[in-house]
């Protein structure tokens, strides 16, 4: 942890109006994130499409390049020029 992280955690604590008195705000934050993610996964499992409602099911995906079909041929013979790579 660097010296700004405690400030960030305190600010998150204040902003979320919870956990301010917790002795371990970082652990609480991680637990909240996990709960939020699990809630999303649970909700997605309950999507009408997952429950068999046909009207809630959209069209299938087309073949995905690089996955279902070969990716288009690269026009470069090497991945990148180091001096141009700024990504």
């Amino acid at each position: 942890m660097n010296r700004t992280a405690p400030t960030v955690l305190i600010a998150i604590c204040v902003a979320s109006l919870s956990g301010c008195s917790s002795p371990n705000p970082e652990k609480d934050q991680i637990a909240r994130e996990g709960a939020e993610r699990n809630a999303l996964v649970s909700a997605a499992h309950d999507h009408p499409a997952m429950k068999g409602e046909k009207d809630a099911v959209g069209k299938p995906l087309p073949p995905l390049p690089g996955v279902d079909v070969p990716a288009p041929k690269s026009t470069s013979t090497h991945e990148h020029e180091p001096e141009h790579n700024h990504h």
Binding site: N2, A15, A44, H47, A56, G58, V67, A71, T75
Partner: protein
């Protein structure tokens, strides 16, 4: 007294502008929407509602496409491209939420409204429409999510008018991508799913306006501008990443959840049967003028907690757009050797632990009508929306074939 009156007058003017904006705005699902989104209803290339179309003011990288230059709309508040309506019936991709039209609960005690959904992994390409537009095969291998047609030639207009979406529905034709995860043995490991969140304070929150009189205002809250795109996470040029903006995690049986700086740090407590996750948070402060920038980062930035003690956008980037979080999750199999897992971009920094070059790209292309739905309801009514619930009794359809486990999970690295 005079300073109090000036503050009151400023607040009254601000409130007056809000009421005027609501009165003039076209009705959208009966909810309020950000008064700055006056471009609703504008067809491409048309002006109206006090807007003036001007040539793009941002420096753009030349592309090899023959599309006409996009029309930029400017209003009194910020610049964006003209909206491009979906080329299909929007209502055909909407269903009654949860089968009943239920409205989600309030997000309180949280101070932000939230809109969340799940995506599957999409195409694998050595393309990057932001960094290498019109130059297929130029970049390291990317794992795409969202628009299935996204590639080196993608523009806002092309994303808006083509492709399906791995993020539930083509109502969201945005494209998101990140370096592909490689197993070190010649294969790409595709994530099982990606969780995406958009969060922001409601427009009525005094902290959402610099003229509200709230001394701790974050900035001026706005929707996602049409045509915005940016990179975030590890920066190859500086060798740095915004502290706290990205990390790895572990979840499942026997896992210890945490914020880990690298893949090796995460896998130490991430056994087979669990999932390893890569989480990245995007900047949410925008300069209001540029939809891109030469390094594809400078037009956006993160809120800062400084000596003033609260999060706010800097004066250079006073517009608050919804916070965007992307989480990609991979299953760990019994035969996997996680010590060999690395991101495709890690080869540029072999001196750093695997995963250190984690970064992501965001290229927005929502249907504006649908974006208004989740902005008006999930965000501005501070609701807790999940699973593509738009907060107004409607929910996005899920594409046929969605799977909770990646299929295929391993794919030969495309040559």
């Amino acid at each position: 007294m005079s300073s109090d009156y000036s503050a009151f007058k400023a607040m009254a003017v601000g409130i007056g502008i809000i009421f005027a904006g609501v009165a003039l705005a076209p009705a959208v699902t009966g909810g309020r929407f950000d008064m700055v989104r006056m471009s609703k209803g504008l067809a491409k290339g048309k002006n109206g509602g006090g807007f003036t179309a001007t040539p793009p003011t941002t420096p753009t990288t030349p592309t090899t496409t023959t599309d006409p230059p996009p029309t930029t709309s400017t209003n009194s508040f910020y610049s964006e491209l003209s909206m491009v309506p979906s080329n299909f019936e929007v209502s055909s991709e909407l269903v009654a939420s949860w089968g009943s039209g239920a409205i989600p609960p309030s997000a309180s005690p949280d101070v932000v409204g939230a809109f969340r959904f799940i995506c599957n992994a999409g195409q694998l390409l050595k393309d990057d429409p932001i960094v290498y537009p019109g130059q297929p095969g130029k970049s390291h291998l990317h794992q795409f999510y969202g628009n299935t047609s996204a590639n080196a030639y993608s523009t806002y207009d092309s994303l808006r008018t083509s492709g399906s979406s791995t993020c539930m529905s083509p109502l969201n034709r945005s494209a998101y991508w990140m370096p592909a995860m490689l197993d070190g043995k010649g294969s790409v490991i595709r994530p099982d799913y990606v969780a995406i969140y958009y969060k922001r304070r409601p427009i009525t929150d005094p902290k959402c306006s610099l003229t509200s009189g709230d001394a701790k205002a974050e900035g001026n809250c706005v929707p996602l501008p049409n045509g915005l795109k940016f990179i975030f996470g590890y920066d190859m040029l500086t060798g740095k990443a915004r502290t706290g903006s990205l990390y790895f995690n572990c979840d499942g049986p026997g896992a210890t959840q945490g914020h880990y700086e690298s893949i090796p740090a995460a896998i130490a407590t991430c056994p087979a049967g669990a999932k390893i996750g890569a989480v990245v948070n995007a900047p949410s402060c925008w300069d209001g003028k540029n939809l891109d920038s030469p390094n594809h980062r400078d037009h956006v930035t993160y809120k800062e907690y400084g000596s003033w003690g609260y999060a706010k956008c800097p004066d250079t980037h006073p517009y608050v757009i919804p916070d965007f979080t992307l989480q990609a999750w991979w299953s760990i199999g019994a035969d996997d050797d996680l010590s060999q897992w690395r991101l495709s971009s890690d080869e540029m920094r072999p001196d750093l632990p695997h995963g250190s070059t984690f970064h992501a790209d965001w290229f927005g292309a929502w249907d504006n009508t649908v974006m208004s739905m989740w902005m008006d309801n999930c965000i501005n009514k501070k609701l807790n929306c999940s699973g593509g619930d738009l907060g107004n009794g409607k929910q996005m359809r899920m594409f046929a074939g969605f799977s909770w486990t990646a299929s295929p999970r391993l794919v030969p690295v495309p040559q």
